[in-house]
């Protein structure tokens, strides 16, 4: 099967962002089924990890890179965090000749990521099956606190309209998939993520000389920035700092955090994140808003880490009440701080939560389950595309 895969995340090594990890799982799935996709990569011009990316995906048929830096206006569109501009940015991308040529290559399946990529379908031939990895209801991600209901509804309606253009829409949150179906999106399907877990014989025990007490991993996605800043101002600085708690923040979120504190270590990039997990006691997820599922929560659970999370950080993780510590951060920040301190002092509690987290992920987000669901999604999409072709010919 010839597959064209649109990868809008730049040269991210999989753990740089949750969405990049989602893409990595897709591609790993294709590899496991003997398929070699063509990847069309959109980047912001950074080439520092290009070699690594190409090394990681050396097995694909082709990698075609489009750098936004060459197109000034396009770059501006993607610099502004709004559903409208991301949609328009992709609309403007369709005028880029190299991009057009790339997407119009013959294929059996075209795989796009996120609803805002939909304008690219104008370039795609009518024959291939079209699958969208919606990930989550992305339009909600663009709305910050204070956005009016009318704007939310407008964006939601637009997003669900765009879903109807595909043969199949894959979503990572079962409630959101149900909601989409309830709103008339019949082709929305829940596919649980495949989460990378530590090997069965890998130790759950953290290193005795844990480098850090708290860990937060995130990209420069605005909800990550907002959550980290809030956590620092309302919990870390007033309650935890005085107890000498060490907090490590990893990822491009560091670029947007104005935190200058000796107890907080900001690391933009680490070579081996799994190693860092082992040298940390607790993972904290202080997100205040978001959609879909928090991939970073799943990732940390897959590494057997105890997790203290806000309600948003455990969205979509049904049955995880015993596997992680969910607290309302905004309602009672002091209680959250006390719980973190208690957990820091108790290796037994940490080990217990870590075991339960790992068990939860292995049960609900295993690689096999993911593979089987994706098989049926692709089969369904291909069948719908065939029916679409027949209906088009008849018309």
């Amino acid at each position: 099967m010839k597959i064209t895969y649109y990868y809008p995340f730049g040269y991210f090594y999989p753990v740089r962002s949750g969405s990049a990890m989602v893409a990595a799982h897709h591609l790993r799935y294709f590899k496991s089924r003997g398929m070699k996709p063509r990847i069309v990569v959109l980047t912001n011009g950074e080439s520092s990890s290009r070699a690594e990316f190409e090394r990681y995906y050396h097995w694909v048929e082709d990698i075609h890179v489009v750098s936004l830096r060459r197109y000034g206006e396009l770059y501006k569109d993607f610099s502004r965090w709004s559903f409208g501009t991301f949609l328009r940015g992709h609309h403007n991308l369709t005028k880029v000749r190299e991009f057009r040529k790339s997407l119009r290559q013959p294929a059996d399946l075209v795989f796009l990521n996120y609803a805002f990529s939909s304008p690219l379908l104008d370039l795609v031939r009518p024959e291939p099956a079209r699958v969208l990895e919606a990930v989550d209801i992305i339009s909600r991600q663009f709305l910050m606190k204070g956005s009016g209901r009318a704007l939310l509804e407008h964006h939601l309606r637009t997003e669900f309209d765009l879903y109807s253009l595909y043969d199949s829409v894959v979503m990572i949150n079962t409630e959101e998939a149900e909601f989409a179906r309830h709103c008339g999106v019949e082709n929305a399907t829940y596919v649980p993520r495949a989460v990378e877990t530590i090997a069965p014989d890998g130790g759950l025990e953290e290193d005795a000389d844990a480098e850090s007490d708290l860990l937060f991993v995130g990209s420069d996605h605005p909800p990550n920035v907002e959550g980290a800043k809030w956590f620092y101002e309302h919990i870390y600085a007033p309650y935890l700092r005085a107890h000498g708690v060490r907090w490590t923040i990893v990822g491009s979120v560091c670029n947007s955090l104005p935190i200058r504190d000796s107890g907080v270590k900001c690391v933009r990039y680490v070579e081996d994140l799994w190693e860092l997990y082992r040298r940390t006691k607790i993972t904290v997820i202080p997100l205040l808003q978001g959609a879909g599922i928090s991939i970073k929560t799943l990732e940390a659970m897959g590494q057997g880490k105890p997790i203290v999370t806000s309600p948003c950080g455990r969205r979509g993780l049904h049955g995880s009440e015993d596997a992680l510590i969910g607290l309302d951060f905004e309602e009672n920040p002091r209680a959250v701080a006390e719980r973190i301190l208690e957990l820091c002092r108790s290796p037994e509690q940490r080990a217990s939560y870590g075991r339960r987290a790992l068990e939860y992920v292995r049960t609900h987000f295993g690689v096999e389950a993911y593979g089987q669901r994706m098989d049926s999604v692709l089969a369904e999409a291909t069948e719908r595309a065939r029916r679409r072709q027949v209906a088009g010919k008849v018309a």
Binding site: F83, G84, R88, T94, P119, A150, L151, L162, L165
Partner: protein
């Protein structure tokens, strides 16, 4: 998905007046009739005032009275969604996804321009003012240095320079320049002028309305159209849907006509526009239409609508037969008559029989046209014989409405505050009453006072009268009005002036039991005619008829 029933009320900002009551009651009736009700209000309206089952969109930036300019739109961050292109068109291959995106989101550039334009928007009216001033100023300015020259120049040349033709040409050229320069930089006018379908219509509207200084009306109309587009873009809209504007203005008619043109007659919902404001003070006289500026302007707006091919998706209504006659004369379009909606079930049955002392109640806002300023004298006249003896007490709703336009009511309120609260109770002084509080007052009343201006209310309906009569309360109403034509003999009293008003109140109190029994007999009949269900049924019946609207069952 059930079809939608929109109640669009751009004057609905709070619970004051009958806007709130009408909107909620009609929405409830529409829901009972199998529709999905949606209420669109002014941006300043709080959604939490409404019941949870109702979808509220505080999205309209212009209000009915235009006391102030359009309010700032809050929710859209510069986006300009339009409902004219549906995803179905893309799925059917008749449009591209890019076209769809274009219809739902403004471009970044346009957004930036709009921000810039908003800050320069004041230049538009300012420039127009300057142009007008120059036109009148320039001849005077030129006249001085040219006076000497003109005296020497041949009389023919003098006549030429002063001629109306020259003035007309100058006006035309400057007007065209203004439209093509300032208009393209500012506000909703600019957007319309850039659109191929809207441009000829808006161009004609400008040429018709600007000489009458109605350019603000046009701006307001186009802002209203923009807000309608946003509403329908969010909620979706189809030809099976209905849109009711319970208190429409002619400028909104222009906006709706333009919307229907863009949408297409086959796809647009059915618009029901109800006009409720009286036109003539006193007898209907067509000659007044040209003499009186407000009437002349209204006719101008209706004529503009007619000149651009009236739509079959727009229907006209009033709520009294007299008003339908007035509007038909003014507009030369047929008007149907609608029942008056209110939630009668909120009126408690109350105790059987009158209570002592009798409660004489005034309901509604404290406005001069509602005769609020007559109340202190009425109380003074009744004080010795009726009030002090404990036969009657007064409960007066004293919610101030636009005090600067109701000075006599403001002075009357100060006087009323001086009375003992056990004999004269003032309700709603701090703000509008909630529907529950209002209907509780209706239920408590033994006698309802409506000392309204008989000329102003000659053809206009009164929600207060409707509710009071439905509750079986004897009323005191002005003569030669719709209210007096509806009031059966013996169910209340009719006054001609302030003195007869006071005498009638005394007569009613003296013979209260008789009046109460008579009023109670007609209550059920009245309720059957005037209800939200009857209104919705009327609208649906009208929509099923093809061709011209015939007058529906008129209120007796």
């Amino acid at each position: 998905m059930p079809p939608r029933f929109f109640v669009v009320c751009n004057n609905l900002k709070d619970q004051q007046g009958h806007y709130f009551e009408t909107s909620v009651s009609v929405a409830k009736a529409a829901r009972k009739a199998g529709f999905r009700p949606i209420v669109a209000t002014h941006v300043d309206c709080r959604p939490d005032l409404f019941p949870d089952w109702l979808d509220i969109y505080p999205i309209l930036c212009t209000d009915h009275w235009m006391h102030e300019g359009p309010a700032r739109d809050r929710d859209f961050e510069g986006l300009l969604p339009t409902p004219y292109l549906e995803i179905g068109e893309v799925n059917a291959g008749r449009a591209s996804i890019s076209d769809y995106i274009e219809a739902r989101f403004a471009s970044e550039q346009r957004y930036k321009c709009r921000k810039c334009r908003r800050s320069l928007a004041f230049l538009g009216p300012w420039f127009l003012y300057c142009c007008r001033r120059m036109l009148s100023f320039l001849p005077r300015f030129l006249r001085r240095p040219l006076r000497g020259l003109l005296d020497q120049v041949a009389p023919t040349a003098k006549r030429f320079l002063k001629s109306p033709t020259v003035k007309r040409w100058v006006t035309r050229i400057v007007g065209r320049l203004w439209r093509r320069t300032v208009c393209t930089c500012t506000g909703p006018l600019s957007r319309s002028l850039q659109h191929p379908i809207e441009r000829p219509y808006v161009d004609k509207a400008m040429r018709t309305l600007m000489p009458e200084k109605l350019d603000r009306e046009l701006e307001s109309a186009l802002t209203f159209k923009r807000d309608l587009e946003r509403l329908f873009s969010i909620t979706g809209v189809s030809s099976e849907d209905h849109v009711l504007m319970g208190t429409a203005h002619e400028r909104e008619l222009l906006a709706i006509q333009l919307f229907v043109k863009r949408m297409g007659e086959g796809r647009a919902p059915l618009f029901h526009l109800e006009f409720r404001h009286p036109l003539f003070r006193g007898e209907v006289d067509e000659a007044q239409i040209q003499k009186l500026k407000p009437l002349r302007h209204k006719r101008l707006l209706f004529d503009l609508y007619r000149s651009q091919t009236p739509s079959r998706r727009i229907r006209f209504y009033t709520d009294t037969a007299e008003l339908a006659e007035e509007y038909s004369l003014l507009s030369r379009f047929p008007f149907d008559v609608l029942p008056i909606p209110f939630r009668a079930h909120l009126i408690d049955d109350g105790e059987d029989g009158p209570q002592r002392p009798l409660r004489i109640v005034y309901l509604g806002d404290a406005r001069d046209e509602k005769g609020f300023h007559w109340l202190p004298r009425l109380i003074d006249e009744l004080m010795q014989e009726y009030v002090s003896s404990g036969r009657v007490r007064f409960i007066l709703q004293a919610t101030e409405s636009v005090p600067e336009y109701n000075p006599r009511s403001v002075r009357a309120l100060e006087r009323l505050k001086e009375y003992d609260s056990s004999t004269v109770t003032l309700e709603g002084v701090d703000g509008p009453l909630s529907p529950e509080e209002y209907y509780e007052l209706v239920a408590e009343a033994d006698i309802v006072l409506l000392p309204y201006d008989k000329l102003r209310y000659r053809s206009a309906s009164s929600g207060t009268f409707t509710e009071a009569f439905a509750a079986g309360k004897p009323c005191v109403v002005p003569c030669n009005t719709w209210m007096s034509s509806m009031l059966p003999p013996g169910a209340g009293e009719v006054f001609t002036d302030e003195s007869s008003f006071i005498q009638n109140v005394k007569r009613l109190v003296d013979n209260y039991e008789r009046y109460r029994r008579t009023a109670g007999r007609y209550s059920a009949q009245w309720l059957a005619k005037h209800s939200p269900e009857a209104l919705v049924s009327c609208l649906l019946t009208a929509s099923e008829r093809h061709g011209e609207c015939e007058p529906a069952a008129r209120s007796a």
